[in-house]
């Protein structure tokens, strides 16, 4: 099994193959990142429709920019940098102008996603999940994004800094605050 896994092409080589016209390479790449990127979009947008639009917009930019793609970092860093920029652009178009922190929706008072999970999922962790999501939605946009970029996209401190344009210490600080608030939400859940 290990040799077979080792032979799987990495993201960068898949993207390079797609740049060269290999659609099958894109299919593999898309399959690897579609779920995490979709969850990132769902957590960043107020509703499912906006999340789907954002998701499609990100991939559209990826495929349109394939000729200019040059691997300078992990593909995930590249992908989520595009996602970050798409989100900022989208919010600017919606009229939410200001600094990077103000570019995100202030959705602390409600669950940002109109989820439609299946009954099995609901049964498993409905209460914990709802509290955690609500706590995430109450986070400042920078903290929420830092959390999602690590938890969903698997990015490290430096890579999160690349995507968001922040320094490493800033990213760490955002994550510390985010973890503190999310842990508090879980504690409330346990207390409840």
């Amino acid at each position: 099994m290990l040799p077979a896994m080792a032979q799987e092409p990495d993201d960068v080589s898949l993207m390079l193959r797609y740049r060269g016209g290999d659609l099958a390479a894109f299919e593999v790449l898309y399959g690897r990142h579609r779920g995490a990127l979709f969850r990132y979009c769902m957590r960043q947008c107020r509703d499912r429709s906006a999340a789907e639009d954002l998701f499609q917009d990100v991939w559209a930019r990826v495929v349109r920019a394939r000729r200019e793609y040059h691997p300078t970092a992990k593909f995930a860093t590249y992908l989520y940098t595009i996602a970050h920029n798409c989100l900022v652009d989208r919010l600017r178009r919606l009229g939410r102008t200001g600094g990077p922190g103000a570019a995100y929706p202030d959705d602390a008072q409600e669950d940002p996603v109109d989820d439609a999970p299946g009954p099995e999922a609901l049964a498993l962790s409905r209460e914990v999940g709802m509290r955690l999501r609500q706590a995430l939605g109450r986070l400042p946009a920078e903290q929420r994004e830092a959390f999602l970029l690590h938890e969903e996209a698997g990015l490290g401190i430096a890579e999160i800094g690349v995507v968001t344009g922040a320094g490493a210490e800033t990213v760490k600080s955002r994550l510390r605050y985010a973890l503190k608030k999310l842990r508090g939400a879980l504690s409330d859940d346990e207390d409840a």
């Binding site: 779920g35 998701f55 559209a60 999970p117 999922a121 962790s125 955690l132 994550l175």
Partner: protein, 266 residues
């Protein structure tokens, strides 16, 4: 020394924190199939213009480049071939320019130019083979030794003096003179005529002057005929000079030049 927040961050980054565990227990949301289909269609559509925009031009670009190269090469070769071709051959590919000098007087109407040119016909643009078939042998041989580039220059020269042409064109026998013999005769003529003989750069002007003098002076004297012959020779019109010498020999049988001509004729 590390604070609880730092430790929590380290656990989080190592995916050991409670928050991470709770997050992973959330139901994983996936994009709906319709959204997947849209993205895949975008990716496929993005490749299709690449095939049309890049590969398609290459399909016609190569043959077009090859065709352009061939056209340029062929035109270059043809041009070089034309430039290397003797001037007479080049003229032969274009319209033939045949100038006919009236056999008797300048006032007579032009003779039939093409069928059988008499000895006095000056042919400037005829094929070499036609010239060899139609012209007297001696003239043809002389012509073969001529610098063909001079043939091109002939139209700029004055026509053969009427009297010379008349005499040479009437019944002059064919005269075979090689280049040396012609040169020797011309030298004798030049010696006889003295410094007035046409030479060098002024040959054309001399030939024109001789023509005008001949036209004005009435019956042609031997010296005037020799002047004209010399002018023709110096103007590079050796075949016409040879024909004129033949006519001179016929008209002036006792002349020293005639004797020289007869002695050198082949």
């Amino acid at each position: 020394m590390t604070s609880p927040e730092d430790r929590e961050l380290e656990d989080f980054l190592a995916r050991r924190s409670r928050v991470t565990a709770a997050w992973r227990e959330l139901p994983g949301e996936e994009p709906p199939p319709a959204l997947d289909a849209r993205v895949r269609a975008l990716a496929a559509a993005e490749l299709r213009p690449q095939e049309r925009g890049r590969a398609a031009p290459l399909r016609w670009l190569r043959p077009a480049a090859l065709a352009a190269t061939l056209v340029l090469s062929i035109s270059l070769v043809l041009r070089l071939d034309r430039e290397a071709e003797p001037p007479a051959e080049r003229l032969a590919s274009g319209p033939v320019d045949v100038r006919v000098i009236p056999p008797q007087t300048a006032a007579l109407p032009s003779a039939e130019p093409a069928a059988a040119p008499p000895a006095g016909v000056a042919v400037t643009g005829m094929r070499r083979e036609e010239r060899r078939q139609d012209m007297p042998l001696a003239v043809t041989e002389l012509d073969a030794e001529m610098d063909e580039s001079r043939v091109l220059e002939k139209p700029a020269l004055p026509p053969l003096p009427a009297q010379v042409a008349t005499a040479a064109g009437a019944t002059a026998p064919a005269l075979a003179l090689d280049e040396d013999a012609l040169g020797e005769i011309v030298a004798a003529i030049r010696a006889r005529l003295g410094p007035a003989g046409a030479t060098g750069l002024f040959a054309r002007e001399k030939a024109a002057t001789a023509e005008r003098a001949a036209a004005d002076a009435g019956p042609t004297a031997a010296e005037e005929r020799l002047h004209a012959i010399l002018a023709l020779h110096d103007a590079g019109r050796a075949d016409e000079a040879t024909a004129a010498l033949a006519a001179f020999a016929r008209d002036f049988p006792g002349d020293r030049i005639t004797s020289l001509i007869e002695s050198l004729a082949e």
